[in-house]
Amino acid sequence: MNIYLPIAEMSVNAALLLGMGWAVGFLSGMFGVGGGFLLTPLLIFMGVPTAVAVGTGSMQILASSVSGAVAQYRRRNVDVKMGAVLVAGGVIGSVIGVQLMKILREMGQFELFVSLCYVTFLGAVGALMMIESVGSIRKNKSGQASPRKTGQHSWVHGLPFKMRFHRSKLYISAVPPALIGAFVGFMAAIMGVGGGFVMVPAMIYLLRVPTSVVIGTSLFQIVFVMAVTTYLQALQNKAVDVVLALLLIVGGVIGAQLGAAAGARLKGEQLRFMLAALVLLVCLRIGWDLMIKPADLYSIGPTIGGGS
């Protein structure tokens, strides 16, 4: 069944979109990631305008992370104070990102910038995860338990504006969490991703937030920042397609349930290894498109800001 998307202004197969939402939901349920980094490039490959793919992506992430955030909050796994600092930074980052997106679209360099961001972040995060997971798979085979470093002080602890984060049992400066939040908010606006794959490692390794509250707090931040980003994308770029988002959400919610069940049967290191491989594949695919000579050197588009 074909359906006409009112904002993307294209006719697509509704079953295909549901299936895509399902597949991305399955993978994100299995690996415990948001899935934005898979969904947004997939939408772009399908021919959805990059801006609409990014804007609609933030709405889909909001829907898929809100239930997780509520569940984590009920289990008291959210450091609300830390979350608030992350959100404050995230909102600023998102505002900057949406503005930059508008400027880049007018210049005709938005697609390039998005692709470069994807290649950089996915490449870096994928490579790090790959190294870490291979390392821990090896250690497990040789029977050694990986030692976890705790209580170490780093440069992060020397900054001003110190705040006490009770739930995280931390007394640190508010600057690093705000910066991390801002960076993630910026990525959310530009790339249409939740940014959990950057925020979670940053909170664990830079801020030394206890693992128990990391996921909940990061989801808390994602929900609020995604809500703000969705609003700004709708207001400034008119890039949120609710019909497209709903189809992806419905498919994604069902897929996530099955994916979570499948993921429960796999070991953590194996999951991380597979996720790293997936991330690197997406990175290579986008990088490839940048490097090879395009089939047509020319592209056409409407003038932004001049009516249409």
Binding site: T230, L232, L235, V242, L297, I300, T303
Partner: protein, 283 residues
Amino acid sequence: MRRLLVALLTVFLVAPQALAQDARAPRMGPPRTTVVPGPNKPAETVEADISARSLEVTTGFTGHQIVVFGAIDNSQAPPGSTGYYDVVVVLEGTPFPVVVRRKSDVGGVWINTSSITFSSVPSYYAIASTRPVEEIAGPVVLERHAIGFRHIKMTPSAQYAGTLKDYEIAGFRDAVIRLKKKQNLYVIKPKDGVAFVGRSLFRSTIPLPANVPVGPLVARTYLFRDGEVVSAHIARVTLHRAGIERVVHNFAFLYPGSYGLFAILLATAFGLVASAYFRRQPG
């Protein structure tokens, strides 16, 4: 011979007036049996219409076939002859400004390096004719009436005057046509695009793809004889959004703030309802 030339000239002079006053023209003239157009015979005129006045683009819109049909009044074609007249139908969408960008290799990465804005490019352009248009008339006539892809009116915005060479502009122009053709927005039907039904009736089926931009479409029908336009007629069809598609689009563009809040509420509600539903499921 001189009289004949004078007669032909009057036809050309009268034709544009006939076009302007087509509402007054008789619907269907009596069939003529004259073989040679004489000085006292009324000039042939063409009238045409589209199978629909308006089309609705709804969420289920997957494209549409429209039929442009018409008749030649006062046809002077000899009985039994074919190819005495040629009919060309041009269906054109609203002109919009379009940015064309060209990529080039910058250190191994393909980047948009140059661009040009055409201030008005038809959003849609379909051409159907009894024969390929190049066979029907010369480039001067085709250019004057903007018939054929090569003669689509496309002017670069003023700021490019002098900065780009003519062949560069031509490259951008060709790209617009090539890419629009790829999107099925520029369509050509040269062979049997317009088919005669009997002596003076003709019809043409033109496909509108699902991605056709909404707005008015203008169908220009030209009657050709001996490489010249003897009559022309204009008809219109309007594509407008309807149903959910219209509601959502208007909401998003007219009230973007409320639309953004609505999107947030919708996403939150869906996320919560779905998780509540699945929590009740066993396993």
